[in-house]
């Protein structure tokens, strides 16, 4: 009973984390599902978003402006990956890894801007007491408008609405066609290189925005905050798909499924932490969860599908 109570007590935190990472998961969905590219830039661009946001807020800049700048910084990171991939012809995965690696150095520099004592810094703290933060985990249990869940939920809805509109436009359709069938897209006059760059830009913009939210939520940006982010994002996307693809067919709902996936992911994480695992064990756990959820649909198709072909074969041997 105590256990259950303490688990329920931790649920608001899981929801807050889940909503923040949900924005990131939507970014991953755009590359992984729509563009059909596994983009590893996100491990770097999440921290870039966090670093830019923390820096600007600590300098006294309006937090909305700080988040917008973080978004633009992430888009720039995605643009770099896009150029590596399309102009330089480097495979998508490697392009992402290159940008991610480069961003590590850049993020260390960003966090030290304006500091005379250090040239690089691996973390930058912002406090809800001293700075004007939009969301903070400190308020997660308050029943006031300051509760971060409220603003995060509104932001998630806005992000989904904007993406729903964008992917319905001519450019958005071109991007979807590029991911679905590059040959077809080119035959219809779509510049597939341009589409890929655009998808990476949009995706990493969202990931950096999530980084900016996360920084405010947890009160600091660290250079390592994005480590393994791609796997968490994938976990959210896949959990959402496996559990909700039967009910959610509309595009906006599919994006929402990513967010719900992220919330479920953090609920499960909270549960296992209560069961006695260390936070350092989480990466192992996340990897296993993603592996499991990727295996299920594959095995379902391979071992549990209706045996259509064998039946036909039997008929023909009898005949």
């Amino acid at each position: 009973m105590d256990f259950l109570l303490s688990f329920l007590n931790a649920m608001p935190g899981a929801v807050g984390q889940g909503l923040t990472w949900g924005v990131m998961a939507i970014g991953v969905y755009i590359t992984y599902r729509i563009l059909d590219v596994a983009d590893l830039t996100v491990d770097g661009s999440l921290a870039t978003g966090g670093a830019v946001c923390a820096l600007l807020i600590s300098m006294g800049v309006n937090p909305w402006l700080a988040m917008l700048t973080a978004l633009l910084a992430g888009m720039l990171a995605g643009f770099a990956t896009g150029l590596f991939h399309t102009v330089c012809g480097i495979p998508a995965i490697l392009s992402g890894i290159l940008t991610q690696l480069a961003l590590y150095s850049i993020n260390l520099r960003i966090m030290a801007i304006g500091d005379d004592a250090a040239k690089t810094k691996n973390s930058l703290a912002v406090s809800v007491d001293r700075h004007n933060l939009l969301v903070s985990s400190r308020n997660i249990r308050k029943l006031t408008l300051e509760n971060p869940i409220l603003l995060l939920a509104v932001l998630v809805v806005v992000v989904i609405a904007v993406l729903y509109w964008f992917f319905g436009t001519e450019q958005g359709c071109a991007l979807r066609a590029t991911g679905s069938n590059g040959n077809m897209a080119r035959a219809q006059g779509i510049n597939t290189d341009r589409s890929k760059v655009m998808g990476l830009v949009v995706s990493n913009g969202l990931v950096a925005l999530a980084g900016a939210l996360l920084t405010q939520y947890q009160g600091s940006a660290t250079v390592d905050m994005g480590r393994g982010a791609i796997v968490i994002g994938l976990a959210a996307v896949i959990i959402g798909e496996v559990l909700l693809s039967g009910v959610f067919h509309n595009f906006a709902l599919k994006l929402l499924a990513c967010v719900i996936g992220a919330i479920i992911y953090y609920a499960v994480i909270t549960l296992v932490l209560r069961l006695g695992l260390e936070t350092t064990d989480l990466k192992l756990l996340t990897a296993l969860v993603v592996a499991l959820f990727l295996t299920v649909p594959y095995w379902k198709g391979k071992y549990f599908s209706k045996p259509v072909k064998p039946v036909k074969k039997e008929e023909s041997t009898h005949a």
Binding site: F166, G168, T169, E170, Q171, G172, C173, A174, R176, A177, G179, S180, N181, N183, M184, A185, R186, A187, Q188, G189, I190, N191, T192
Partner: protein
């Protein structure tokens, strides 16, 4: 409408896999010409079509479509002038998108893509009417994902999409080869209707000699990266398979081609 001047293409130059696929092909199509292309495996038929479509650049020579020199234009820019149907039914449509979305993409071929809606209500009604021409019941399935359609349905849809925005040139690359005979006949019939309706300038590769003779107003036969035979007008109308084989033998001095052609 199409003017191909002495184009050459060698794949994997300087390696053991070096293959010269086009050895100086020249071809001029008049407005409204419907040309069928036959030839054995490796004769360069598909290579010729891909060269015109701009899948990769040619080594030398020039390609002009409707007076515009497209030799150096990338594939997506040439798409403005060209409608295409591929041999593989999976290649011409986006499986994860709806039928109407696929058509809307094709309706914007060669136009600048903006932030306006990707498909409008008026378009939907228009597409429904167009799909009726195919007589496959697709007009009632506008919002179905294309991946749910059969190969024949997808190929027919691709054909409709290729002609949705009247192309200067229609390229058909053995577009019925992967279909069962009955479906192939249906798609070919739809092809004839669509080409006739807008008098489209068409280049159609086929592996079937009879189809090549029955359809179109001109027939070319390729052999070892060159145009070996070019038959048009009254000559083409009276042509039989036996004629064709005999004339091919004369033109190339090869008799091995008989089985090669018939089998391929």
């Amino acid at each position: 409408m199409l003017d191909v001047q002495n184009i050459r293409k060698t794949f994997n130059p300087g390696t053991v896999n070096e293959k010269t696929a086009l050895r100086g092909v020249s071809l001029t199509l008049k407005d409204g010409d419907f040309v069928t292309v036959i030839g054995g495996n490796g004769a360069g038929k598909s290579t010729l079509l891909n060269a015109v479509a701009g899948v990769w650049p040619v080594d030398s020579g020039a390609i002009t479509i409707g007076g515009v020199d497209v030799t150096k234009l990338p594939e997506h820019k040439r798409a403005k002038y060209i409608g295409r149907v591929f041999q593989d039914p999976m290649m011409g449509t986006a499986a994860t998108m709806q039928i109407e979305e696929n058509m809307a993409l094709a309706a914007r071929r060669g136009q600048k893509r903006t932030l306006r809606p990707g498909i409008t209500r008026d378009e939907r009604d228009h597409y429904r009417e167009m799909l009726k021409i195919l007589d496959l019941g697709l007009e009632d399935r506008l919002t179905s994902k294309v991946g749910l359609l059969s190969g024949g349905q997808r190929q027919a849809l691709t054909l409709l999409m290729a002609a949705l925005r009247k192309p200067d040139l229609l390229l058909l690359d053995e577009h019925t080869a992967a279909l069962d005979p009955k479906t192939a006949a249906k798609v070919l019939e739809a092809t004839e209707r669509i080409v006739q309706k807008d008098r489209l300038t068409t280049l159609m590769i086929t592996h079937n000699m009879k189809d090549a003779i029955v359809h179109g107003n001109r027939l070319i036969m390729m052999y070892e990266g060159r145009v070996a035979l070019d038959i048009s007008g009254e000559d083409k109308k009276k042509l039989t398979v036996e004629d064709l084989l005999a004339r091919f033998g004369q033109a190339t001095g090869s008799d091995e081609a008989d089985d090669k052609l018939l089998l391929s």
